[in-house]
């Protein structure tokens, strides 16, 4: 604690200024920004008092951009230029989108990430997200009266490198300094202060407007590890509105919502939503909507009826939760706390289901719409250097192992999965062929032993390796992952210092479930993989021996008699044959051993010959 001095009247020094930092929840449906003021995290509302900003951006022919509520107002009359739920397109290629035809946008397939053609020109999801973030930044800086020094932006736990990088790029484009990306469930846990516990396992149940996510987190020694994630990218509050709207249609003898005019559908969905929200407070709610022809549809919906309408939807969340627990190899009794996130968890229906499933009262005191942003704000405050005495820093882990391709298409893992971030690991590699002056470095992500089973992240070349015999060069390859989970790889030739470097902006496009699928595949195929590794390793060894023998024969055949030469040639052919026919590892090893034995005498003679050459014409005393 600083010590104060007495100042002249009116001259008391102003204390250092608060470094303005904020947490941003960049959501699929809504986004919001929170900051820590007077040691309390709170959400900054816009000038109309709204805490949530719809994640909607509209592009006008004049080049103007509207974000939030202004854009939402035109969602119906200008659908092609009003971008909704852009988060679903982040880091995605056109082929990754489940049903692009159902959306009102003109998609342009760009390498790495899809783009959207608007009246103001082509916009990538990164640019659209940046427009949302920019609106939040402007709003925050106006109400805080200063520039933000940095922000923490939250991302779903299942976001891959491509999606994280896209999110970070969007923030940078919006003029924000990203202190960290943070997993949404981790942020929610932090908002509840769960990080103060020594350790524990927590479930975060996040039912938002259009998505459902379940995450299982383990906290140990100040590190949050994501054990498992699951959910449904097409299940949220909107589905509950649709269920109520359908119920009203059926009650009036209309088969489906689609048979109404578009503005009637919207009116009905609004009424359904109002009723749904009212049911969180009271036992019954009125649903009423006036159709174009003037008829009034009106009915009373009770909680029990609502529960019956939505039972299937709730059951889907519980099924996903059960699956996530199974993936984490945990039982409900292993969970030390359950956190509710997302506006839809206000429904007593959802709360009851979670309570019944985990057999414990879920944490729900903090506004479920704000909890993620509040947790991010707390983290941002600490990272910006406004520490409140406690040296508290959250860490995440990398979800999949990172490594590089070695001879034979095998993966050498450099950073194993679940390593705490940030992390840097280095390993030395060498050349495979005599006189090799360049090395191609292929960075891959995944758990499989073979490169073909992993995801390729980047390729680069290190040139300028001084020519030498195979195995003499020393090349140090360093993998570094920063706190956001982004990877940089450096290769450095140790004698000359020649260096090559790549920052992995992964070839965008690993889908939500692919990480889980890749992990599962690695486990299922671990036996095959081990066999493959043994085979490839024996192939690589045999090839190396073959190359060395052939080089020696070419150089020093004179040291051998014709018979000896023929015998070695014979064994060389057998090894080459075994390699070409793809012989089993055992056979390969046996013929390689034969070749080693056959060349033992030859190797000894070569050694003697080279010593003789070195010593020729020298006096004994000159060697001392």
């Amino acid at each position: 604690m600083a010590l104060l001095q007495i100042a002249e009247p009116g001259r008391a020094a102003a204390p250092h200024q608060h470094r303005l930092a904020a947490g941003i929840d960049l959501g699929t449906t809504n986004s919001l920004l929170a900051t820590v003021q007077s040691a309390v995290a709170r959400v900054l509302p816009d000038d109309r008092g709204n805490a949530l900003m719809p994640s909607i951006v509209r592009y006008l022919p004049t080049g103007e951009v509207e974000a939030g509520r202004d854009a939402q107002a035109h969602q119906a009359d200008d659908p092609a230029n009003t971008i909704v739920s852009v988060k679903r397109f982040m880091g995605r290629r056109l082929a990754d989108l489940p049903d692009p035809g159902a959306l009102p946008y003109r998609f342009v397939d760009r390498p790495g990430m899809v783009s959207i053609e608007t009246v103001a020109g082509e916009r990538s999801p990164v640019e659209v997200s940046a427009d949302i973030l920019r609106a939040l930044r402007v709003q925050a800086e106006a109400s805080l009266g200063g520039e933000l020094v940095g922000v923490v932006v939250t991302v779903p736990a299942y976001f891959d490198d491509a999606q994280r990088q896209a999110t970070k790029d969007a923030a940078r484009l919006a003029g924000l300094t990203v202190l960290r990306l943070m997993n949404e469930p981790t942020a929610a846990a932090v908002a509840y202060g769960l990080d103060r516990a020594a350790e524990g396992t927590f479930a975060v149940y996040d039912l938002g407007g259009g998505t459902f996510d379940i995450s299982i987190l383990r906290l140990s020694k100040g590190v949050f590890e994501v054990l498992a994630t699951g959910g449904d990218p097409a299940l949220g509050g909107d589905d509950f509105d649709h269920a109520v709207a359908r119920w009203l249609c059926h009650a009036h003898g209309v088969a489906s919502l689609a048979s109404l005019a578009p503005h009637e559908q919207r009116g009905l969905l609004m009424a359904a939503r109002t009723a749904k929200e009212a049911l969180s407070e009271s036992e019954t709610a009125d649903v009423s909507v006036r159709l174009a022809d003037g008829t009034l549809w009106q009915r009373v919906l009770s909680r029990t009826e609502f529960a019956a309408l939505c039972a299937a939807l709730i059951e889907r969340t519980i099924t996903a939760t059960r699956r996530a627990l199974r993936d984490a190899k945990l039982k409900t009794t292993d969970i030390d706390g359950v956190v509710l996130v997302g506006g839809s968890t206000r429904m007593p229906l959802a709360r009851d289901a979670v309570r019944a499933f985990f057999d414990r009262e879920p944490l729900a005191d903090i506004d479920p719409d704000q909890v993620v942003a509040l947790g991010a704000a707390k983290q941002a405050d600490v990272l910006a250097g406004n520490g409140h005495g406690e040296g508290w820093l959250l860490l995440d882990v990398c979800p999949l192992s990172l490594g590089l391709e070695t001879m034979g298409g095998l993966v050498e893992k450099i950073i194993p999965r679940n390593s705490t971030l940030p992390v840097a690991r280095a390993q030395e590699f060498t050349t495979f062929k005599d006189g090799q002056t360049a090395m191609s470095i292929h960075v891959v992500q995944g758990e499989r032993e073979a490169v073909s089973g992993c995801r390729s992240l980047a390729r680069f070349e290190l040139r300028g390796i001084p020519p030498a015999v195979a195995g003499a060069a020393r090349i140090r390859v360093t993998f570094q992952i920063d706190a956001d989970g982004l990877l940089a790889v450096t290769a450095r030739e140790q004698t000359t210092g020649t260096e090559a470097h790549v920052e992995v902006k992964p070839s965008y496009g690993l889908s939500d479930s692919q990480i889980a699928a890749m992990l599962k595949e690695a486990i299922d195929t671990s036996l095959d993989d081990m066999q493959l590794r043994t085979l490839r390793e024996s192939q690589v060894d045999a090839r190396r021996l073959l190359d060395a023998t052939e080089a020696a024969l070419a150089a020093d055949a004179a040291l051998l008699s014709a018979d000896e030469f023929a015998a070695i040639r014979q064994t060389v052919f057998r090894v080459a044959d075994a390699l070409e026919t793809g012989a089993a590892p055992g056979t390969l090893k046996a013929v390689s051993a034969d070749l080693s034995r056959a060349t033992e005498e030859f190797a000894a003679r070569r050694m003697n010959a080279s010593i003789r050459n070195a010593l020729a014409g020298r006096q004994l005393d000159s060697l001392a």
Binding site: M1, L4, Q5, E8, R11, A12, H16, S38, A39, H388
Partner: protein, 107 residues
């Protein structure tokens, strides 16, 4: 409402006033800034304002303006030496959170 000084703090205030050659006391105030919302300020007093409240402790006059007073009630001002530094420290029962540097606090 009281604000008090430790004997060490009082001695240092007296010495400072003597060295300065003028002044009638020590103003203790709270300003709204700093990272936790509020910050303390210490100043010499040449003449108290009409609305100020004055306290006596160990022969030293402490002057507080009415806006700061509720946030300072019960505070004891100490003078301490920490390594090479010496200065005043606040023991304020109203503060609920201090910022890392201790220059500001929240109530």
């Amino acid at each position: 409402m009281t604000i008090s000084l430790t004997a060490a703090a009082a001695r240092h205030v007296e010495k400072s006033l003597q060295k300065r050659g003028s002044g009638v006391g020590l103003r203790v105030a709270v300003k709204t800034s700093g990272c936790s919302g509020f910050a303390y300020a210490l100043e010499f007093v040449d003449a108290p304002n009409a609305e100020d409240q004055c306290f006596e402790a160990h022969g030293v006059t402490i002057v507080v303006d009415p806006r700061s007073l509720p946030m300072l009630d019960g505070t004891e001002l100490d003078f301490v030496r920490e390594g090479l530094n010496e200065g005043f420290r606040f023991h304020n029962p109203n503060a609920t959170a201090n910022c890392g540097c201790g220059e500001s606090f929240a109530v």
